[in-house]
Symmetry: C2
Subunit: 370 residues, 2 copies
């Protein structure tokens, strides 16, 4: 209990008041002015599909109605797109919330859970939030290490492991056969979350065939990245129907925005828009890579909408550059652990964002010195 005699559970009492990420608006309030380039949260610089915007505006006429708690129309379209049954798809207000419910359904106080040190912090936040115990393995170079994750799951008896393909924050990826090999070796009685938030940006042949008959893997996808709908909150998971039932037992059934459902459905159908975003992101990655070359730095290969630029030294140096960029009106982020944190992570922005970044980046590096 706190000194106000509030009867928090022992678990909540023990938790730190942490947040997985500080939002750019918080930084803007601290610095007293807006960023000129918001290229730190891997948000899409290319907006939402015009058809999604139309659908959103049309749906605003029904904004006073709750969204369908079954997400039937969207779920139906997703099932068709992925060649699975509707009962194998669950829509939620973003992958973050789906990760929370997944941890909740598979792990409790003391349960071992496995991820990679430096991987998605929000997963770790939920693991801590349900009192489970996080076990981490190191990246192998600049990629997550499937063998190490599996070995740690085996060793700890973890019922839950996390793996992202492509990876955030490094942008690295594996081919479908490597990932399928990993899925095939998930220990009995365990479940692997395969976070594919960035999969639309990856080369063909990066995503294994989706097979929801396998109860050992949960495929997580989002409308927040390629579809440009981070501010509308739509994600989904494809998994064995028993896993879907598990989430349905605990989820907030009316959590979905009705207008977001409509916008996501329209976006799904606008394949032309999606292709254009992917092409623009590809071009942006090449530009950022060329910029890094020009500055004598190395841009890591990326299958995402961001590029990790190796600053060639340690985390302190990269952080100094990041801070210098912030002072110069550019919001970027960086990995949280060594040696990944030798990089700054730059989201592919608009052409204007990229030009501004090129200018300020060089200036920031000069200011930090060598």
């Amino acid at each position: 209990m706190s000194d106000t005699n509030i009867p928090f559970t022992a678990l909540v009492d023990s938790l730190p008041a942490s947040v997985p990420f500080v939002g750019p608006e918080t930084l803007e309030r601290q610095r007293g002015r807006a960023f000129e380039a918001r290229i730190g949260a891997n948000e899409s610089a290319f907006g939402i599909s015009p058809k999604a915007k139309e659908a959103l505006i049309a749906a605003s006429a029904e904004a006073s109605w709750y969204g369908d708690p079954e997400n039937y129309d969207l779920r139906s379209a997703l099932a068709e797109k992925h060649g699975v049954k509707m009962e194998e798809v669950l829509v939620g207000a973003g992958i973050d919330g789906l990760l929370g419910n997944t941890v909740r359904m598979l792990a409790g106080p003391g349960t071992p859970v496995v991820t990679s040190a430096g991987a998605y912090p929000t997963f770790n936040y939920h693991v801590a939030g349900f009192g489970a115990v996080l076990h981490t393995v190191s990246y192998k170079g600049d990629a997550e290490d499937p063998d190490a994750i599996l070995a740690k799951m085996e060793e700890t008896g973890a019922p839950l492991g996390y793996f992202a393909n492509p990876d955030n924050p490094m942008g690295s990826w594996y081919s479908a056969d490597i990932v399928q090999g990993m899925i095939d070796r998930v220990p009995d009685g365990s479940v692997l979350v395969l976070d594919e938030a960035y999969i639309e940006f990856a080369p063909d042949g990066s995503a294994p065939v989706i097979d929801p008959s396998n109860p050992k893997v949960m495929r997580m996808r989002t409308f927040s990245k390629a579809h440009g709908m981070a501010g509308l909150r739509v994600g989904y998971v494809i998994a064995h129907k028993d896993l879907i039932t598990g989430i349905n037992k605990v989820r907030n059934h009316f959590e979905m925005s009705r207008v977001a459902q409509a916008a996501a459905l329209a976006s799904l159908q606008d394949t032309e828009f999606l292709a254009s975003v992917i092409a623009e992101v590809e071009q942006g990655r090449q530009e950022i890579s060329a910029l890094a070359d020009r500055l004598g730095l190395t841009a890591l290969p990326s299958a995402t909408n961001f590029v990790a630029i190796d600053m060639g030294r340690d985390g302190d140096h990269a952080r100094a550059v990041l801070k210098a960029l912030e002072e110069r009106g550019v919001f970027v982020r960086m990995p949280g652990v060594a040696p990944l944190n030798r990089c700054v992570r730059v989201t592919v922005g608009t052409a204007q964002d990229r030009a501004l970044f090129a200018d300020r980046f060089e200036d920031a590096i000069d200011a930090v010195g060598s």
Copy 2:
């Protein structure tokens, strides 16, 4: 474990696959056609504020950006409106989610929690979802019974109790002094959730002064009812800063839709629109009451946007009328437990909804017979 060897927690394994509510869309899919009047979920028939719609459309230009996880602008406006500090306000994607986080932070497996039999089912769903044990007291007539709730909290040592003013599903309400008297008697080491989702529709003098220095009460409010934004998902809680910190330790920080934040902020400032909705609802309640009179039934007094009509017999009869209404294209709901379930609960619709309801209601009653 299930037969697929999925490592669900024992709690999730034990939970039924229940939902707090069946959505109207599900019923529409079952009946194969849309309802002509959707007046069952206490959604607003009067849409969102034109200013909120403008803000929503403007914000769609930033739909690819995550919403501010601190909800700073909206929270700041809410703090000012209610004369509290920002640190005493927390914004979430609807009261449903806030209730879930509240249960999570105050109750775990086996923890006693108190509510009224027949009160908001979603609260009960969350209590079960975290393994806590629900203790219920009866309504006193057609209103929740503050004394009985407090006595049951005392008796069971429950750290958490639920009370709504005005009440759903009956529409009854208490004056501020009665509610304040209840708050004053919450046992030490316990917290009362005061759900005020419908407070805008209640007579002046129904809401006690908001005092977040008292760590024994959490005031929950929503944009889903009077503001007509159920499909956008915005609710908030005002409470002692330590309770807010507790929710911040476990909540999904990026759960808020950016466009919903913008729309809610605009709606908050459109006091004229809000006043017009409240006036239309008041008129609608009178019409429904007059209709009940004409049919020899009793409409219960209501301080909400719905009216419970006493059908004068038992739950089976009311359910038969409800089903007959469904067959006639009218979606309404009814209370879940006796003797409250002698009523059907009709949301105040548009003038057109009301005319259609008047017609179909009489017909449904005739069809069910006496």
